[in-house]
């Protein structure tokens, strides 16, 4: 990457974040599947957070239009109370994506700090936490989550995010720890240690900045995991939410037997499609990220 590739206005260059963003988009455009994923993510973020501002929430049942197949009036048909499915799709993404973001944030935070500190401190502390992570990793996660949810009954989405993060940190923590262990041997860390700069300084100033790309990738992966788990919990009815939610639509569909009702096909299929497309966008985007950040393919 030479300086000539970066946009300039007159003599001044654009501020660093914007330069990086443009460079990032340029690299992304070379990987079509990643670009599609990125567009998908943007689309869903807009759909979930921006669109509901413009599209009013329809709560009134219309008993004259039960389980209608798609028409000009109801592009995706209606549900068992005559409510428009498309409207529910627009309203239903907010909670799922919010929980996923919060969970991914908590998971990444816990895992990164714990992994880094554990690797740097070493000794018994490290052994204990690696052991805990191993145990958490071995236990089948969804079953444990179900048991926990059945017992603890999270009632708001923050509580749900916490329940999900209680298991999700282990995998990333092991990997962060492995990365930090290799970085630990590098010169600049040795220098910082010999200058006695303290653990916090070393973690935040020396090591984490070099793992930025790594952390971003795992944040997105944590989101996919959080979506998988929360949708499962909601479909099983373990997380009583009110309001609109794609997974909740499927819960209702299940309890109403809508799966076997041909006319209800779009009511069932639409939330599935929405969730799958969201997951797919995240996965394609993360594959492209891995490609971009892979040191073998880039010179910097």
């Amino acid at each position: 990457m030479t300086a000539a590739a970066l946009p300039r206005r007159g003599d001044r260059t654009l501020p660093r974040p914007i330069e990086s963003a443009i460079e990032f988009l340029r690299l992304l455009s070379k990987r079509p599947s990643g670009l599609i994923g990125f567009i998908g993510i943007v689309f869903f973020l807009v759909l979930a957070f921006v669109a509901p501002i413009f599209v009013p929430n329809q709560v009134n049942p219309d008993v004259t239009a039960l389980y209608e197949t798609p028409s000009a009036q109801h592009l995706l048909g209606t549900d068992n109370s005559g409510r428009d499915v498309l409207n529910q799709i627009v309203q239903g993404g907010r909670e799922i994506i919010s929980v996923a973001l919060v969970t991914a944030f908590l998971t990444t935070l816990i895992a990164t700090l714990l992994g880094a500190v554990s690797a740097l401190v070493g000794g018994k502390f490290d052994a204990v936490f690696v052991g805990i992570a191993d145990i958490v990793l071995t236990v089948p996660p969804l079953i444990v989550l179900i048991v926990i949810s059945a017992l603890a009954r999270p009632t708001n989405f923050f509580a749900l995010a916490m329940v999900l993060s209680s298991l999700g940190w282990a995998g990333l923590m092991r990997q962060v720890r492995a990365q930090v262990l290799t970085l630990k041997e590098r010169d600049y860390v040795e220098a910082a240690r010999s200058l006695d700069l303290g653990l916090t300084h070393i973690v935040f100033r020396e090591i984490l900045p070099n793992m930025r790309s790594y952390i971003v990738i795992h944040f997105v992966l944590a989101m996919t995991g959080a979506i998988y788990a929360q949708v499962a919990l909601i479909i099983l009815g373990l997380v009583p939410f009110s309001g609109k939610n794609w997974a909740l639509m499927l819960y209702f569909a299940n309890t109403q037997g809508a799966f076997y009702f041909k006319d209800a096909f779009w009511f069932v299929f639409s939330p599935i499609l929405a969730i799958v497309l969201l997951q797919l966008s995240l996965v394609l985007f993360v594959n492209a990220l891995e490609d971009i950040f892979n040191p073998r393919l880039r010179s910097s």
């Binding site: 052991g131 145990i135 179900i146 048991v147 009954r153 499962a232 799966f259 969730i275 799958v276 997951q279």
Partner: protein, 370 residues
């Protein structure tokens, strides 16, 4: 560290005591280094920790199931508090009068004897029996699905890596990404609503259940065929949902292996491409995937809670879902423990398998894993 002076020698001797007892202790500790011993210990520890946490969740959390059960039993006034308490206690196989530590120990003791308590809902039915009746079906469908997806996925991943950047590679990689993005329970649901209801390609009502009603169990072709017929859908779901992961994982591992020096060195020695592909590239590339087998199995079993519901397949997932709906806590607890045990054993088996495949691990004094 060579001892060069008498003072040095004494220092060295002090660091390495040679009394018989110390020698024996070191001998036993030497076994500790062996990865097999470590793996078994870890397995034990995992089950132990899980049981302990379950105990505390059940017993000590506010709004815990025991108190709820007692409330339930005393609600209609049919029982006194004392009676309800003792009934709840026996259902959970916990003695509520003893101090917590003793309760915990007898709880663990009961577990060791295979006593997982009794179901709330079907009074008096031992949980262990309930779980053992359903667990094998799930293990069968998950195991078969995973075995198929691993063998086929590894082969396709190898193929994709060798034909990198060709059309077939793009198709396999993109396909792998797409199916791994779809949650496994959705694959099940889509099979039901698309293939079953909408298109009517699959006779989902006939395929319900683990076996057809009235069929005689036994190793007859009729029975085995029937079991496979009913398990076909769950197996397909587990197969499809894990296939992508193996394809992509093997492709990336193979690409890495192909860049290794020993592959070039093997070519320089005139070895055939076929031999290099199997014994040099393939065997090395597949190693990291073996470590993921057990984790993938754990994830698949988790999804079975929903998947078995959609196919009405009487495995452990369906039973857990019923237990959750009915608030049958002893059964829930029992299932959690048995499934964890199964996964832990699977992990152990995978670790042992790995140590046989990779000579760098699995020998005393070999490298420790990360």
């Amino acid at each position: 560290m060579a001892a060069t002076t008498p003072a040095d020698a004494k220092m060295v001797a002090q660091q390495f005591p040679t009394t018989p007892r110390a020698g024996r202790a070191r001998h036993i500790l030497g076994y500790w280094r062996h990865p097999v011993a470590q793996a078994i210990f870890k397995a034990f520890l995992t089950v132990f920790v899980t049981t302990s946490i379950t105990f505390f969740l059940i017993r000590l959390m506010p709004g815990n199931p025991i108190d709820i059960k007692i409330d339930e039993l005393t609600k209609d006034g049919l029982m006194t508090y004392a009676e309800a308490r003792s009934q709840a206690a026996s259902l959970f196989s916990i003695d509520l009068d003893k101090p917590v530590l003793e309760q915990y120990l007898s709880f663990v003791g009961n577990l060791a004897h295979g006593n997982l308590g009794y179901s709330f809902v079907s009074q008096g039915t031992p949980v262990m029996g309930i779980v053992l009746a359903v667990l094998p079906w799930t293990l069968f469908s998950v195991g078969t699905g995973l075995l198929l997806s691993f063998s086929i996925g590894v082969f396709l991943g190898l193929f994709a890596a060798y034909n990198r950047n060709t059309k077939i590679d793009h198709i396999l990689s993109l396909g792998g990404s797409i199916i791994s993005a779809v949650p496994n329970y959705f694959i099940a649901l889509l099979i039901v609503i698309v293939l079953g209801v909408e298109l009517r390609w699959v006779p989902i009502t006939q395929m319900r259940g683990a076996t057809s009603p009235g069929i005689q169990p036994g190793f007859t072709p009729a029975f085995v065929g029937d079991v496979l017929f009913h398990a076909a859908l769950p197996i397909s779901v587990f197969f499809l949902s894990t296939l992508g992961h193996w394809i992509l994982g093997m492709k990336s591992a193979t690409i890495n292996a192909l860049e290794e020096d020993y592959v070039n060195a093997a070519r320089a020695r005139g070895l055939s491409d076929g031999r290099i592909m199997t014994a040099y590239v393939g065997r090395n590339a597949v190693l990291p995937l073996v470590t993921q087998l057990a984790i993938t199995a754990g994830l698949a079993i988790g999804g079975s809670i929903i998947i078995e519901q959609y196919f009405v397949y009487q495995g452990v997932g369906l039973r857990l879902q019923a237990a959750v709906t009915q608030r049958d806590y002893p059964v829930m607890q029992g299932i959690l423990l048995m499934v964890t045990l199964a996964v832990v054993l699977a992990n152990l088996a995978a670790d042992l398998l790995y140590s046989r495949l990779d000579p760098r691990i699995g020998r005393a004094g070999g490298a420790t894993g990360t």
